[in-house]
Amino acid sequence: MDAIFQLLQNSGAPMPEWLALALAILLPIVIVMGLFLTVFAFLTWVERKALGRIQNRRGPNRVGPVGLFQPVADGLKLLIKEDIVPGAADRVVHFLAPVLVVVPAFLVLTVVPVAKGFVPVDLNIGVLFALAVSTASVLAVFMAGWASRNKFSLLGAMRGVAQVVSYEVPMVLAAVVVLMAAGTLSSIGIVEAQRGWCGWFVCKPWGLVAFVIFQTCAMAEVARTPFDLPEAESEIVAGYHTEYSGFKFALFQMGEYVAAITMGGVTVTLFLGGYLGPGCDLPRIGWLVSAGWFFAKLGLVVVINIWARGTWPRVRVDQLLAFAWKVLLPLSLINIPAMALWYFLPNRLIGWIASAALLAVALVGLTRLNAGRAFEKRSYRFIS
């Protein structure tokens, strides 16, 4: 933002200061919103195509070449659909929830470095900001479920709240090792700390474990399919957005997808080297190459998300919570001393082996401890 302001001031174009300031503020917002909304629209198409492939059908193929304009048709359809609000609903809260669900998803984008030297706001505590803001969507989910005055909605909302609260803990702890390695909370600082051959944090034993934990928790936090209990259609109709139609429903979908993309962006920044890649430092076209690398990695993470959605069944509520508290949380805690071992042992190779060994022992131990217990048969207390 400041860089754009400087550039506009020094360009010599006759321009009052307030105009330059307004442009410097608006330009990154427009670029980021436009870019990610386009990505969102075509992600829905990619997802439906990929899921179709996995399920041995064709997916959307009517609108435009290979169904490429399907998102446009969907958007138009949802825009002109009747908006129905239940009679008993809390009108104000019911209206505010879909608006608020989109806000945190976009706010996370402010600290994700999309290309070399391009991050909308370079906060010194960027990663903390991203983690903090992304959890705020839970309130919108609750508002939607509660305001609908529908039992299924409320059930879905409470599931969503419990899920996000549980998965937030291992997610933050998984990010801690990255902050330890980089020694900074700034998202650009973290990306720059991953330079060099095999410098990406995912190439280290602790980094790999943290990457898997973080990615799992990110999927749980945006409620995508192995963890889509808040909107499990076989149990509670559509969960917290049962009573939403038309464009409000579209906003919920958008919130979910944009959150998935932005969490993918955070994952790429933390573990996959962000915009780094061969050619990202070239003098003139470096920004373009680095943006290409960022979006290629983001695409990879998103495709992994879709793949998981297409291949895994939905977990049960008790399995979901047991997995977070009995497997992910201890593992992410042990990951921190493993990272310290790697960091403080004099020889990198010894540190690498020691940290990998500690993590392997922890993983085997946790599996043994949880064997037959984390996923035991559920007993229902309130059914006689």
């Binding site: 839970v138 309130l139 900074t184």
Partner: protein, 168 residues
């Protein structure tokens, strides 16, 4: 800067006022969240990014959700039954306490040496690093005591929950 401050202040005060005056408990909670957002905005405005992010993470992500669970366990959420505010006409009593507390806090802040020590410009990175270092050196005993307290509370909660389980 000034305009942003006034807008944020208005939002914060509005949230606080609504949080204590609305009838429906869930509406009160949402107003309280608005207040938290306003406070976080003030922190960001003062370039205390760390405090702002922590405010969002802890107050909106954790405290509000905790209150939410508490509300879900209470009856009469909508505030339609029963005889209203238990303070009755004694609202001025609460107002007096609030005013006294505000006066005390203002006096304490003005007296303390904090303003003098914090006036030197430090970068935010410096604040995070300095704070982290102080927490594990000078303030390690309070930190550990707090950790033990929280752990005790956690174990206590588990024990209470288990007790109910055994009875059923």
């Amino acid at each position: 800067m000034n305009i942003a401050f006034y807008i944020l202040a208005a939002v914060t005060l509005l949230g606080a006022a609504l949080a204590v005056s609305l009838r429906n408990l869930v509406h009160c909670l949402l107003a309280l969240v608005l207040f938290f957002v306003g406070v976080a905005g003030h922190f960001f405005l003062l370039r205390a990014d760390f405090l702002g992010a922590v405010q969002i993470l802890i107050y909106i992500g954790a405290v509000a959700v905790l209150i939410l669970f508490a509300i879900m366990l209470t009856r009469n959420v909508s505030g339609t039954e029963g005889g209203g505010n238990s303070l009755g006409g004694a609202w001025w009593f609460g107002a007096g306490i609030t005013a006294a507390l505000a006066a005390l806090a203002t006096a304490a802040v003005r007296r303390s040496s904090l303003a003098a020590t914090l006036s030197s410009p430090v970068t935010e990175q410096g604040i995070v690093k300095t704070m982290g270092r102080l927490l594990v050196t000078d303030w390690v005993v309070p930190l550990e005591i707090m950790a033990v307290l929280l752990t005790a509370a956690l174990i206590g909660a588990v024990v209470v929950a288990l007790e109910e389980d055994r009875k059923s």
